[in-house]
Symmetry: C2
Subunit: 338 residues, 2 copies
């Protein structure tokens, strides 16, 4: 499969993208990468990146980049030659099977919504984030594409999340939970109450375990957590901030106080920090688009980019979208109001 | 001041409540406690709790308790002699200045809303949670009383939160942030956009620093974070779950791997776990009621109960409510729709 990579994306310029592409190509013989960005800037970085299979890497030249803090709509409109829109066009025209970007998330999602290349039956794509748990991994969606969804969108996120958990995370029978402020039925506002009913009384009932709370994310008690993009985004960013804060406190108040084993403990901490770092997860897929779109953290390093390209390739290998479409076909028809 | 304590509240029965009361009385000579619960059960626990100032501790007898997992409305209705309603009645009739409960949170809030004993001008009380930061503490509200608020409620939470930060946390000029999915103006759904405008163009503009994200909670960049009770509740419970998960991973993957300094490191970790534990924060005040209401975690131990009684006493000492009412008077009049 062939993945378009936004060479301009991220906080650190083109280097981690180019280096990440070279790493990913070495790891996956069935992967091709199209670097989308300024050829004059990419060429010297490629020359410095060492050996790579030239037949599986090409450059799609463009000159503009949406700024990381630019208003997405403004950036996309004022910069018609921007790399994000080029990535989507390559995918929409069949010249790429997927795209990966560490660029402005709002612009990546916005450009995707603009193409309207959604999977058959999908109302709104959603961003899925993979979180570590005590027993493996769970996927939470949406984490930012759709901040004011309808119940039917959340039901579709349940379908997409459970197909993702099964085929990408290896969970045989994914359990779906609805993020809420308490476990009992009837908790929360209208959106979650109506969504609860759709899950409980629909074809997903056998895999729906009911409401879950924030504290359940990491316990391993649930495989797919459905929530609106506002809550999901706040939780995802909170998680990153709190991990940093807590591990920083451990480093200062525990590890730094040791003497003979301080260095050994610091090494072990370093491994743990790497394990919890978002770069290990391979980015967050925007599920529901006809193709594959992986959104990376702005501060992604080459390892994060390589992992994201790996996830994109894996989505194509397992035919994730075909499986989502088949599952969506089992849902009842719903009006636009729902 | 005189605080009514729900002796039935919490997961561990009456013991931590009775013991917590005795501890708190020893620490604060100006505090009186009314233990609200079954006298026959309280008496032997008091006898076992050691010396206490009998002139500052009395029992208000009642026999019923709302279950921790009971539906709040059902529990309050079916059990007219329940301890939570008695606590509120003691406060509403001036027989107590405040109340503390580790009982069913929904029932504590519900019984409070039922009394309608709100501060002058308050539309909806909100629960405030204090979080540790890199430089001190911040307060986030609402964390569960009001899951579908109006913009005017959130503006009032900004007032109450900044008065709390100033007089309870010692922050001279509290900075208020609005929880959102991005920092730029215009981010998020209607509620946060409208709330943003109220802060930006109102009397709180000088202390409003704009939108903040989940990752900002622990950095010390903001003192008061305003959010709806759904988001706040999910984040608060997520925080508890993630701390447990991350510190558990440190214990297993770092501390347990050490040899000579394993015991020393484990001791330091224990201190850190205690520091991050919710029992250190002294419960979450329900701000906006005419009196004082501190909601404790269901699994509160005697230390948590004693800390909560201390916070209740401190709220009375600093005349928190008078200051909130004075600040509220500076807000413009708003229609019920806002």
């Amino acid at each position: 499969m062939r993945i378009a990579l936004d060479a301009f994306g991220g906080d650190h310029g083109l280097r981690p993208n180019v280096a990440g592409a070279v790493h990913a190509l070495a790891a996956a013989p069935d992967l091709s990468v199209v670097l989308v960005g300024d050829k004059a800037q990419i060429d010297p970085l490629l020359a410095a990146a060492g050996e790579y299979p030239a037949d599986r890497l090409e450059i799609h030249h463009c000159t503009e980049a949406v700024g990381m803090n630019e208003k997405p709509v403004d950036g996309l409109r004022k910069k018609p030659d921007n790399s994000i829109s080029h990535c989507w066009k390559l995918m929409a025209t069949g010249q790429a099977d997927g795209l990966v970007s560490a660029g402005n998330t709002g612009a990546v999602v916005g450009a995707g919504l603009f193409t309207r290349k959604f999977l058959k039956g999908i109302r709104k794509p959603g961003i899925a984030a993979v979180m570590p748990t005590a027993t493996g991994k769970c996927v939470i969606l949406d984490v930012g594409a759709n901040v004011f969804p309808k119940p039917s969108h959340l039901l579709q996120y349940g379908v997409m999340g459970s197909v993702f958990a099964k085929h990408m995370l290896g969970v045989e029978k994914p359990r779906i939970g609805l993020m809420n402020v308490g476990e009992e039925e009837g908790k929360g506002h209208d959106l979650v109450q109506q969504t609860y009913d759709l899950f409980r009384n629909g074809p997903l009932a056998d895999r729906f375990i009911g409401n879950v709370e924030g504290r359940d994310v990491h316990t391993g008690a649930v495989d797919v957590i459905v929530t609106d993009g506002f809550v999901g985004n706040v939780v995802l960013k909170y998680a990153q901030g709190q991990v940093k804060f807590v591990l920083g406190a451990v480093a200062q108040e525990v590890i730094a106080q040791l003497t003979t084993e301080k260095a050994a403990a610091a090494d072990l901490m370093k491994k743990l920090v790497t394990k919890f770092h978002y770069s290990s997860t391979g980015g967050a897929p925007l599920l529901g688009v006809d193709g594959c779109c992986i959104i990376c953290h702005g501060s992604s390093d080459e390892r994060a980019i390589a992992n994201a390209l790996g996830v994109a390739a894996q989505e194509a290998r397992v035919k994730l979208n075909e499986k989502i479409v088949a599952e969506l076909g089992t849902l009842p028809a719903m009006s636009d109001e729902e």
